[in-house]
Symmetry: C2
Subunit: 197 residues, 2 copies
């Protein structure tokens, strides 16, 4: 019977979380050993949070974390929990570090442990435009979480992301009051270059 | 550490396909035995197609099929293959049967084999507004498939679906030329009530 051919690749809907430490190079320049020590602490605290919400770590390169979640709701809850955890870590020990976090959802291709697709690139681009300490999500994620997660989102409008053909409507949230306080303190203490990359 | 509590339910992104035979009651009224026999043939042909594209049958009630897919792309490919298969079956034997198919994607809750959530209801509502022989998809599905599936979609605009709070932007596609031909033949032969349910 003339039906469509059997699919040759495995696809699935997934939520992708991309996190990166703001002004990481500047922090390394100012205090290499302190920054590496803190980064180790951050990872020890943050990776279990991601896993608790069902996330799977795809990549850990430098200061970045890339993770996939079966659920967009759980990915955003996890991102919020990560930002809260960072606020606590920053209150405890220098140097203060702030994550930019991007979350996207999409139909991706997976081959064994590896994921491929536009959806992953968009997550990384959303992360790059997030304010330090905040979470930037695509409209796709927003549609899934707006009635399910108790967070206020600010509409950022259509974003023209680098190497992404279509504009992506994006939304931003600051994860927690304490994150904002920690950001204030950090901005005062460090005055690093916050220009968007 | 004060992070968000561990999730108590399991959520995941899934594509939901809802299919229903148009004017099934009228067909049963006109030829009970022939309709039941054809329905059995339809199921025997169609269910393996759904499974071939990674779909899992959630429910088979009366003339309806409800299935979940890990991928929105595969769900739409499967829906297209189902419509093509139906066109072939209709060419072979009376009574002609046409599926209305709705496909949606969403963050759903699953408990064992069962799925819950708004995303499932929306799929069923999209199916109800689909033209016989056609596939009606939500904007969420459209965003995932528009660059990945070689089908032409017609923008149906915002649809106010029964018991769904927000309007759902929807798109329609006729699966195959032969489906349209078969629809023509069917309309000519049967003249059943095609009013939307």
């Amino acid at each position: 019977m003339a039906v469509l051919n059997q699919p040759t690749s495995v696809r699935k809907l997934a939520a992708i979380l991309s996190a990166d430490i703001a002004a990481y190079s500047a922090l390394m320049g100012a205090d290499e050993e302190g920054t590496v020590r803190k980064l180790r602490e951050v990872r020890e605290a943050v990776l279990p949070i991601i896993e608790k919400f069902g996330g799977r770590i795809i990549d850990l390169a430098g200061d970045g974390i890339l993770a996939e979640f079966p659920s967009a709701v759980r990915a955003v809850e996890s991102a919020t929990a990560v930002q809260r955890c960072m606020a606590e870590l920053n209150a405890q020990r220098e140097p203060a570090m702030l994550f930019r976090i991007g979350v996207n959802a999409g139909d991706v291709i997976h081959e064994g442990e590896r994921l491929y697709g536009d959806g992953i690139n968009v997550a990384a681009r959303l992360q790059a435009i997030a304010e330090p300490g905040c979470i930037c999500i695509s409209n796709k994620v927003h549609e899934e979480v707006r009635d399910r997660v108790a967070l206020a989102f600010t509409d950022m409008g259509d974003q023209q992301l680098k190497n992404i053909a279509r504009p992506v409507p994006a939304f931003s949230t600051s994860a927690h009051e304490s994150t904002s306080e920690s950001k204030e303190a950090w901005l005062k203490a460090k005055k690093p270059d916050f220009q968007r990359r």
